[in-house]
């Protein structure tokens, strides 16, 4: 490991793609576009749906990655931003529809997206400000509490806005279809042979939206990682005290991490609400936050391909297994199929344990992180868990008087 430390900079900055890489990227692009079209054509709609959901979770994971992977702040209430985006977006969308009339319908999603993102960012700052001084695990529990507070407020129909447990849109109202979906459903229709009948669908539309948003997220996240802010996050994550002493404003850096992370949560939330055409508090439980953290850690902290693989592993595979077992694609009788379906979470839990034992750094760890931090170096780990506040107030860190 020591020898490779020297070329951190060269590696990170040399992002010009080689020919081989270009070919690989082109293949991936073709794959991303073609595969769902094929699935749609052969009538396996749930595979498109699963890909769409995975797309949403990639977005969530990349957003949380900013907070957890880059800035090193463990957030167990990330789903609160997802909820904020979904609810604020739907409520604002409803107001827009009432103000501008039904003809504005196709634009409601796109017009409310920035508002949902801003609302989530504002929530991020609102959460971030009071908890700036907290160390990793304390932060985790505060964010957990915050996530639960948001969910309970939504369930209790706060200010009469959220319609409580019954969800939005209210009875008789609906979330308008976005621009182009209707046209595509009517015109993007073709058949090849008897078994391939393609018709554009709701699932495909939101899948492509999710892919586009993921690409945007990846672009922004990569720029952030290389930016001055990204480097100050890295410094802060590795050693808050040292970072502060070289002039990094810890407060600003943390708030940026919270609010930028929240933005992607909010964007994903509104997209989810539109994908579902419905939103209710059941979607924003603590376990959802936990799953997003699992995606980030299992995939590899701070790593973009890691987030994608993690989302596939955690959101895609259990659903895929169930779907494949039950739709007759795999040669199973109904009894075996329901057995597979019922046991999949048991096995899933076991696999998480085994994965962590085999590859604790995640499936695809970030190259920079792997080089920066040797996982066996306990001293660095201990210092990593120390906050500025602690360092200011204490000389010794690992003091827990049992």
């Amino acid at each position: 490991m020591g020898g490779s430390k020297m070329d951190i900079r060269t590696k990170v900055s040399s992002r010009k793609a080689t020919t081989k890489q270009k070919i690989i990227y082109a293949l991936i692009a073709v794959f991303i576009v073609l595969v769902p079209v094929i699935f749609q054509g052969i009538g396996q709609l749930f595979l498109v749906r699963i890909m769409g959901v995975v797309g949403l979770y990639v977005m969530l994971a990349l957003g949380l990655n900013i907070v957890v992977g880059f800035a090193g702040l463990l957030d167990l209430g990330y789903i609160a931003f997802y909820a904020m985006g979904a609810y604020v977006g739907v409520i604002v969308g409803d107001v827009m529809l009432k103000t501008f009339g039904a003809s504005f319908g196709p634009w409601v999603y796109f017009a409310s997206l920035p508002i949902a993102a801003l609302a989530a960012a504002a929530t991020g700052i609102a959460l971030g400000t009071p908890v700036l001084r907290l160390r990793g695990d304390y932060l985790a529990i505060v964010t957990l509490g915050f996530g639960e507070i948001v969910r309970i407020l939504i369930t209790n129909d706060v200010f009469g806005l959220t319609n409580g447990p019954a969800g939005l849109p209210r009875s008789g109202q609906s979330i308008p279809e976005p621009f182009g979906l209707l046209w595509l459903r009517e015109h993007a229709v073709f058949s090849i042979g008897d078994n391939f009948n393609f018709q554009f669908s709701n699932n495909l539309y939101w899948y492509f939206i999710a892919v586009l948003l993921c690409l945007l997220t990846i672009f922004v996240v990569r720029r952030l990682d290389d930016s001055r802010l990204g480097r100050s996050w890295t410094a802060m994550r590795e050693d808050e005290v040292a970072a502060a002493s070289v002039g990094i404003n810890i407060t600003t850096a943390k708030l940026w991490a919270f609010s930028l992370g929240a933005v992607w949560g909010g964007v994903a939330g509104l997209t989810f609400a539109n994908f579902q055409q419905f939103v209710s508090p059941e979607s924003f439980t603590f376990m959802e936050s936990v799953f997003v953290v699992c995606i980030v850690v299992l995939g590899g902290m701070g790593s973009i391909p890691g987030a994608i693989i993690g989302a596939i592993a955690i959101q895609g595979i259990p659903e895929l297994i169930r779907g494949l077992a039950q739709s007759g694609i795999l040669p199973l009788d109904p009894g075996q199929a329901s057995l597979v379906s019922n046991y999949r979470y048991l096995v899933f839990g076991l696999v998480m344990v085994i994965m962590m034992a085999v590859r604790p750094q995640g499936i695809w760890p970030s190259a920079r992180r792997a080089m920066e931090l040797h996982p066996d170096d306990e001293k660095i780990q201990n210092e990593e868990s120390q906050s500025l506040w602690e360092a200011e107030h204490k000389t010794d860190t690992a003091d827990h008087d049992l």
């Binding site: 908890v131 990793g136 902290m301």
Partner: protein
């Protein structure tokens, strides 16, 4: 609001707080030594409820232990006491062993892994255990037999305290006193404290780290298991997902008290239980969790180490 109601809410809160405190001790013990949030601890609580239920059912089943034994267990006061001591011991020991096994297979390989790896492993264990109970035991809530008669012990005005509430409180206090003495007075307790301060240095001083960690993973889950049996007795049922809410609350309690601090966990449990009951009684039951978490955030803003946590020392 009359005074009676306030006192009764305090009684409710203290009982609930006792349960939280028992579970919180497990979180705090493991955190103190391993610096890890043991997310699977809520499942230890759930396992305790089930072990208690099965042992209780087995011991009151004439086909298993004979009519004479059942008559002894359910017929006399001494029999009842013996019965419940056995049930609690069984739950504590079996769940303690489960905790040790989980540590051995899920957490020990991760001693030197990045900080979040054990957290994910613990979540995996939690999902596994919940589904194991769901698939192999029952998806329904199982009634917990009301073998022990619940009698009103104290009745002053409108305030009543029953035998079970007293039992929970007394047991919790006794266990804390025992644990506190154990950690501060015995050799192995000293080893635990040393390990929590600096694991590596403790190892160099000849302390068997694995033994200490194993012990923490026995005691913590054992206490959680006892809390699970109490939960079954007090509320009358056990269910595969019963651990989630109390687990989350108890973890909150441990943090309020100052995680890593045994007395803090205890204090945090009672504070949370009482505040929750008062909030449910006088504000709104729907907002009681909001109050609980808001208190947590406030405590941490003003005392970032928790109530009894690493308190503020002079600036250096």
């Amino acid at each position: 609001m009359s005074g009676d109601v306030i006192v009764q809410q305090l009684v409710n809160g203290i009982t609930l707080g006792g349960l939280y405190a028992l579970i919180a001790l497990g979180y705090t013990l493991v955190y103190g030594i391993m610096l890890m949030i043991n997310f699977a601890h809520s499942e230890m609580f759930m396992a305790g409820g089930y072990v208690g239920l099965f042992v209780l059912k087995a011991l009151t089943n004439e086909a298993w232990v004979g009519a004479g034994a059942v008559g002894f267990f359910t017929g006399s006061t001494i029999g009842l006491i013996v019965l419940f001591v056995i049930v609690f011991l069984a739950a504590a020991i079996l769940v303690g062993i489960l905790g040790v096994v989980i540590e051995r297979f899920a957490y020990r390989p991760l001693r030197h892994a990045p900080r979040l790896a054990p957290l994910i492993s613990a979540i995996g264990v939690s999902i596994f255990l919940q589904n194991a109970v769901l698939l192999w035991v029952d998806s329904k809530a199982l009634p917990f037999p009301a073998v022990m008669p619940v009698v009103t012990v104290v009745k002053v005005g409108g305030v009543t305290v029953n035998s079970l509430q007293i039992l929970i409180l007394v047991t919790t206090l006794l266990l804390l006193a025992f644990l506190d003495t154990f950690v501060s007075k015995t050799r192995i307790g000293k080893a635990m404290r040393a390990t929590s301060q600096d694991r590596e240095a403790a190892g160099l001083m000849g302390i068997d780290i694995n033994q200490v960690i194993g012990l923490a993973f026995f005691i913590g889950p054992a206490l959680g298991g006892i809390a699970g049996v109490f939960h079954g007795m007090y509320y009358g049922s056990v269910k595969f997902d019963m651990g989630f809410l109390p687990g989350m609350k108890s973890f909150t309690a441990a943090v309020i008290g100052g995680i890593g601090n045994l007395r803090g966990a205890m204090l945090g449990g009672f504070v949370l239980g009482i505040l929750e009951s008062l909030a449910a009684g006088f504000l709104s039951a729907g907002y009681k969790d909001v109050v609980a978490f808001a208190i947590l955030i406030l405590v941490l803003i003003f005392r970032p180490g928790g109530l009894l946590g690493e308190s503020v020392v002079e600036k250096v």
